[in-house]
Amino acid sequence: MIKQMRRYEGWFGVAAGLCIVSGLYFGLVGSPADYYQGEVVRIMYVHVPLAYTAMLAYGALFSCSLWYLWKRDLIVDNMCQAAAGIGAFFTAVALITGSIWAKPTWNTWWAWDARLVSFAILLLILIGYLMLRTFTEEKERAARYAAVLAIVGGIDLPIIKFSVEWWRTLHQPLSISTRGLSIAKPMGIPLVFMIVGFSFLFFYMLAVRTQMLYLTHLLEAKKGRLLGEVHL
């Protein structure tokens, strides 16, 4: 599977580059500013794709975790770990860009909005996942435990989203409306380009990071054997 990754990853990378560059062009130059938000709405073209890709990363983590528990293939476990790392990274960057968008729009760096809070919890779950992998001693056990955590978390995330949404509709101040912009057609096209581009980028990064993890483990294992010891 690693060989296939190496062969086809380039296509994803090129597709990502093309989509993102065209998306940036259409978004920054080719589309109008929002009537209410002004130029700041252009942040949507980088924040929303990041958020979607973060959720895509968790979807990949969830599926790969199920796959691992079924097949116990170590490369699948590397994919899990890769998806989690990339997911945590994208979630953090999505939260930062979201915060930068919030300041001129709602005049606050952070709002207790349902989606922002759900995203923060997603980040906590992913960081917990990475910590679990770091702190578990044996590789096989780490893979198993992490897969269970990813699956439990994946089932929990929709429930978390609902409960936070219900909670916010209770306490939401009336002035802040999170759906304050209606996506006009010229805005939809660059957004789609960017989302598709970032998705391609995610798969490319997943391939690269999986290879990185796999090769690192391979090197460690082989080095151990070459030196006469067996590390596992």
């Binding site: 580059g17 942040i43 980088v46 990274f89 860009t97 930068i100 968008w101 990064m205 990185m212």
Partner: protein, 165 residues
Amino acid sequence: MTWFHVRWGGVLLAGLAIVFLGMRHYQRELRAISPLQLREEAPSGTIRVRGLVLPGTLFPGPGPNEARFELEGDGSKISVHYKGGDPENLRELKTLVVIGRWDPGSKLFEAREIGVVPNFGFVTAAYLAGIVPVGLFLFWMEHRVAFLYREIRDQKVYEPGGDEG
């Protein structure tokens, strides 16, 4: 290894080109000047002027989507005659951008569009914060992968055909 350098050199060049083009686009079409600069420079063509709508000067114009008001900024003020789309954004004591032409003779600014004050600082910050870390992360990973493949080849650890990847 060299393909890696070519690829990332290309990405860097593309990034620099985008930044350069972006800055040029900003200078030509997005930058707004203040009324003081307008009076001093008196540029021709379509200009963007940014200022505060002075209270007590806003009067709905003769036509349906028309208005007259005074715009103040940098200690200088100009008279604006607006004729264009729905002027809902037009309110007294609000800072906004008017887009139109300047008539140096009658010292009147004929505006056909009103825009909300652009926050380019935030937009730039968001794009930098969003794209640069991702690029750096990807660069670091690719660099490491290239290094690992080289290590494995040098140590003759990877047995092609034997150990399946």
